[in-house]
Symmetry: C2
Subunit: 300 residues, 2 copies
Amino acid sequence: MAFARVAIIGLGLIGSSIARAIKERLPQVTVTGHDASAEVRGIAGELGLCDTIAGDPVATVADADLVILAVPVGRMADAAVAIGPGLKPAAIISDVGSSKAGVADALAKALPDHVVIPAHPVAGTENSGPAAGFSTLFEGRWCIVTPAAGAPEDAVTALIGFWQALGAKVDIMGAAHHDMVLAVTSHLPHLIAYTIVGTASELEEVTESEVIKYSAGGFRDFTRIAASDPVMWRDVFLANKDAVLATLQRFNEDLTVLQQAIRRGDADKLEDWFTRTRAIRRSIIEQGQDDAAPDFGRKH
Amino acid sequence: MAFARVAIIGLGLIGSSIARAIKERLPQVTVTGHDASAEVRGIAGELGLCDTIAGDPVATVADADLVILAVPVGRMADAAVAIGPGLKPAAIISDVGSSKAGVADALAKALPDHVVIPAHPVAGTENSGPAAGFSTLFEGRWCIVTPAAGAPEDAVTALIGFWQALGAKVDIMGAAHHDMVLAVTSHLPHLIAYTIVGTASELEEVTESEVIKYSAGGFRDFTRIAASDPVMWRDVFLANKDAVLATLQRFNEDLTVLQQAIRRGDADKLEDWFTRTRAIRRSIIEQGQDDAAPDFGRKH
């Protein structure tokens, strides 16, 4: 099963990158696009991201073999309801949301008569909007597909083949496990980064301009992910509340342990901890999940 | 006052980068080097970092106009005592430590008859050792000089000129204020990164290999600074204990506020917070303190 026609609902960073990757890697596929924002549709049109871009979601999905919802997870249900009347019976519906259990439920409820196979490409940048996308965003990155029990095997296989064609590596797991894995690897880091950037900007003792000026000491790494799309991340934290709060509790315990070690002057505990974390970095680089160049390869 | 002879005590990332930058930008200056580790001295010798490298700190500083201590802050006092007998009376002693008030006290006590002017180049990478250094490390970065009240003006001017010659921009501030500024911009981010990387590697629900595999979702940004030198950072947290614990308390307050917003489903509070932090990132990029390329310019 190959897709002749793909519809993308939501033309931000991820949606527009999918459109670009299809143009480049699957030129035989017809891509239609829709975004709720007329401004975004206008920019996407100027960029030539899709074969057609429509203001009407129903028209956008007409005849589509695959529809990908690339909207914030809090808007998935509404987006699914809006496309419902235009879907052909055999269409496969998927998404790119960063949390999966809640989205899977919402899509299944909104489209009870269609094949829904949730997915999450673990890729992105801190920038947002249709102009921020690029065709190589998914190359070498993981896409996690979370089919419900009983999902048609040929549809799952087709969706996997689609993501592989865009350059991604694909894994399959249950939605609940996905949400716990991402809570640790993505949601908690974002929450921590958002927190510390907020904290630093509101201290009485240190001005915001000092924080900005001396950010090369470590702080600037946190600002990158704390610059990610506010609406998208608001929705992720609300949709994956339980897993986020559970991992946050574990983080708080560990932070308290290190806080106590500093207060007590427990040098050995600090050095042991810091030596252990270094090994994790090495594994990430060995597995090709990050750039080994010092300082991320920033120019000096 | 220009320096004809500079001695560097400690040939790790920072010390070796100073040596390289001098070779490249101040070729008329003679550089002598020492490291307590014979292995490090051997590597530095093979790399040709200094004109001479000695196992004896006293011999290393003989005739030096400027001596830079580039050792972990916990070793500054011992390093200062060790060079004492070799210093010529007019020598200026400086350092590169990431905390300043404690180091300034320790150096003043160890070398009461010499001019000591503490400094901190806010630059580095996650890598350690003499092979990790490079000559452009300080280019466009800030170096904070924290002279004590009554420090000789010509010596301060000479040290500023030295760092400018290596490509750095120089600021002057008091040691205590430096320590608060760096607690926010560097020490707290490192502590948080060390914590979360430790937390993620010890969860029961998610394996370490899953954490590594899906780290592109945000986690890998934290692993970079959590790979920094364990001994250096152990010493920084102990030396700047009060400021670190004070900023950590503020961070904890803010984290509790966001935690509560997630638990209560307070979408507006989350979106407002995340919108505010995005502006900080923009300022950092506008001021040239980070790369504007998406995802730090990593290859895709």
